[in-house]
């Protein structure tokens, strides 16, 4: 009798609580956000327990998820960066689409409540949402106001167009920034992916891959050639200086080495903590002679994918957690504290109404860029399989142009051709 009582008394609560594994790639202050959100959710109800686990960088987390799936031990929720979207959505049976999850679990869910610039990236052509947006960002141009003053430029009127940026960078170089007038992180995101959307120029057929994996790259067009040729010339003059494929070079802005630097709006926390000068940000520059520019920017960051093959009860917990995440006040807090974009319209409206952006306009810059115009076929987003590897190929070709091994034209043509080879191979594995 006492044994039975012990077993019932001791085991019942543990059995009743369903554990939900959440693998993510966020470090530092953003890791704290993940932990805090999990704790708040766990405290808000008794049936489910979110267990977050840090699994390394974005590519590492994606690989860990893939390896775990193959071994039959996938987590329930996997955070995947936007570049991995094509890989995730092609894996039928490996994932549970979010729209299905919410319907099955009977949770109230309206895809229209979310910012369209964000959901477009994670939805099918029909508009079915496949993954839950979590931390979204976009690309902006950070600039050093003190350096602008020193070079005789107006720190409150940052350059708007690329020719203006080149002029400003030349003046900055003359005033003492000898190594680098302007630069950028995420070489292909800045000079191919965002560039295409912002100038309303296509990267490929099939709405940049959103409408099917049989997309064919075609960005070896005059607009790109013009930009790459300018970059190559300015690299030779030491006005532009390449900062690598990932965000390793971001420190060149906060250390004061590069006074103009294009990178993610998610760089905000780092700038706030480390820049010992007056700074600001502005939308990405554009070429005024390219028709339609500026169009709208596209998102970066990551979303939450639900892995396939789990129990209905577990899915119910995941769905409840997603509803919890979408709550207006929670989104307001996330956005104003971390600098990530608010994912719902209501949260954005609320922050705007509170006058928050008057003091901190730099947090609104990426949202204004994303919503600058109604997205077109060229600016809704992009979705290519094997994009992680394709980005490496693109970077290789850009580097070959910048160090003078190839002409910009030859490099651009090779980037398209080699990218297409990868796409065709991916299409074969994804089609079946």
């Amino acid at each position: 009798m006492s044994v039975a009582a012990f077993v019932l008394g001791g085991a019942a609560p543990a059995l009743a609580q369903t554990e939900i594994q959440w693998w993510h790639a966020l470090t530092g202050a953003n890791n704290d956000v993940v932990v805090r959100l999990s704790e708040e959710f766990n405290a808000s109800q008794k049936d489910y327990k979110i267990v977050p686990a840090y699994k390394g960088s974005y590519p590492d987390t994606l690989n860990a998820g893939i390896a775990a799936f193959r071994a039959g031990t996938a987590p329930h929720i996997l955070q995947v960066f936007e570049v991995g979207t094509g890989t995730m959505m092609s894996a039928k049976g490996a994932i549970k689409p979010v729209h299905e999850l919410m319907k099955d679990a009977g949770e109230a869910f309206d895809p229209k409540a979310y910012l369209p610039a964000i959901t477009g990236y994670y939805s099918t052509a029909k508009g079915d949402m496949l993954s839950m947006p979590f931390n979204s960002s976009s690309m902006v141009m950070w600039y050093n106001k003190d350096a602008f003053k020193k070079a005789g430029l107006n720190p409150e009127a940052p350059p708007k167009t690329w020719p203006e940026v080149f002029e400003a960078a030349k003046k900055l170089k003359a005033s003492g920034f000898e190594k680098c007038g302007f630069s950028n992180a995420w070489a292909t995101w800045a000079n191919i992916e965002q560039f295409g959307a912002w100038h309303n120029v296509s990267l490929s057929t099939k709405t940049n891959g959103l409408d099917g994996f049989d997309a064919v790259l075609n960005f070896n067009s005059p607009a790109f050639l013009k930009h790459w040729t300018n970059l190559v010339d300015l690299q030779k003059q030491g006005v532009y200086d390449y900062s690598g494929r990932t965000n390793n070079g971001e420190g060149r802005f906060t250390s004061g080495e590069c006074p103009i630097f294009l990178t993610s709006s998610g760089f905000f926390g780092n700038v706030k903590a480390n820049a010992k000068f007056d700074w600001g940000n502005a939308p990405m520059p554009y070429y005024p002679d390219i028709q339609g520019a500026p169009q709208n920017s596209i998102i970066g960051g990551a979303s939450l994918w639900v892995m396939g093959g789990k129990k209905a009860d577990e899915y119910k917990g995941v769905a409840k957690f997603f509803t919890f995440l979408s709550d207006v006040d929670r989104q307001v807090k996330l956005h104003t504290e971390s600098g990530y974009l608010p994912i719902t319209k209501a949260a954005y409206e609320k922050v705007k109404a509170s006058g928050f952006y008057k003091d901190k306009p730099y947090l609104e810059t990426p949202i204004l860029s994303l919503n600058n115009k109604e997205p077109t076929e060229n600016s809704r987003g992009l979705r290519f399989g094997s994009l992680v590897q394709i980005r490496d190929i693109w970077s290789e070709e850009l580097e070959a142009a910048l160090n003078g091994q190839k002409t910009p034209k030859a490099a651009l043509d090779a980037a398209v051709e080699r990218g297409n080879q990868m796409l065709r191979q991916f299409e074969r594995t994804a089609a079946r």
Partner: protein, 293 residues
């Protein structure tokens, strides 16, 4: 208790061999056979769809100009690392072998880098030679040398060669020093009495007596540069700029892990494996003849 130097029957020899064989099967033959099998497949990352494609992955590999480039990079990288790490280690060992004050401290300091993980070694060199952050890079730039491994392929190659060499010198040093210390002092003394100068003593007596050690190290070093250096390359250059530091093993790693191209990556590792087997066979067949044990 058996008194002969060899065992009768099969049981005891097999039992003695078994642990080693088991480890080899589990950690070498099994994964190698898996790689061989995988190299014939075309598969998506999650393994939800698989197609048997015979030699298609190999065909793709050999028609890829990037693969030829990686092959050439590997030749340059491995020859420089092997020659540099062996010769510098030998020089250090000869110097540390002399009766000098504080020899123990030198020896310990020279052995330390071996305990450093490849990725850590990579970060260390990156910090010294990063064009923006590195103290030594700034020194070079101040001297008017346009040092930029971010874009200059030769600079990047030089940097990974230095880091990989630095990492391997300790290991080679350790073996050379042990080899030197096992050479009987009387042989050297006899040569001294005969009036042989230090250089002549080294090349006619010491170096030939070191040949088994040198040969062993050559084999080990080649395996090291072929298989063990991707951590260093990954942290310092990531194969860039423009593929200038992408070696064969780094390509296996980046295509398979980063690119989820498992079939192509498996085909590359099979090719790499065959190459190293062939090279080891050549070494044992031709170079070993010149080794006197």
């Amino acid at each position: 208790m058996q008194k002969n130097a060899y065992f009768n029957g099969l049981t005891i020899p097999l039992m003695l061999l078994l642990p080693q064989l088991a480890i080899t099967v589990v950690f070498f033959y099994w994964p190698a056979s898996q790689a061989l099998w995988q190299s014939f497949l075309l598969e998506d990352a999650f393994g939800t769809s698989t197609e048997f494609v015979w030699f298609e992955n190999y065909q793709a590999l050999f028609s890829d100009p990037g693969y030829l480039k990686a092959f050439i990079n590997t030749l340059i990288f491995s020859s420089f690392v092997c020659v540099l790490s062996l010769s510098v280690a030998l020089l250090f060992a000869v110097m540390a072998d002399r009766a000098i004050r504080g020899a123990e401290i030198y020896k310990t300091l020279l052995i330390w880098p071996y305990a450093v993980a490849p990725a850590v070694a990579g970060v260390l060199w990156l910090f010294m030679f990063d064009p923006s952050l590195g103290m030594l890079a700034r020194g070079l730039q101040r001297l008017g040398i346009a040092w930029n491994p971010r874009l200059n392929g030769n600079d990047a190659m030089l940097l990974v060669i230095l880091a990989a060499t630095w990492k391997q010198i300790s290991y080679n040093f350790l073996f050379f020093l042990a080899g030197l210390q096992s050479i009987p002092k009387s042989v050297i003394e006899a040569a001294v009495i005969d009036g042989a100068r230090p250089m002549r003593r080294f090349w006619t007596i010491v170096f030939p007596l070191l040949s088994p050690t040198t040969f062993f190290l050559l084999v080990v070093n080649i395996v090291y540069v072929f298989f063990d250096t991707f951590g260093i390359i990954d942290t310092i250059t990531g194969g860039g700029p423009s593929g200038a530091t992408e070696t064969l093993v780094y390509k296996v790693f980046s295509d398979g892990k980063g690119g989820s191209n498992l079939g192509g990556s498996a085909a590359q590792s099979v090719v790499l494996l065959v190459m190293v087997i062939a090279m080891t066979a050549v070494q044992f067949k031709f170079i070993e003849r010149r080794v006197s044990y």
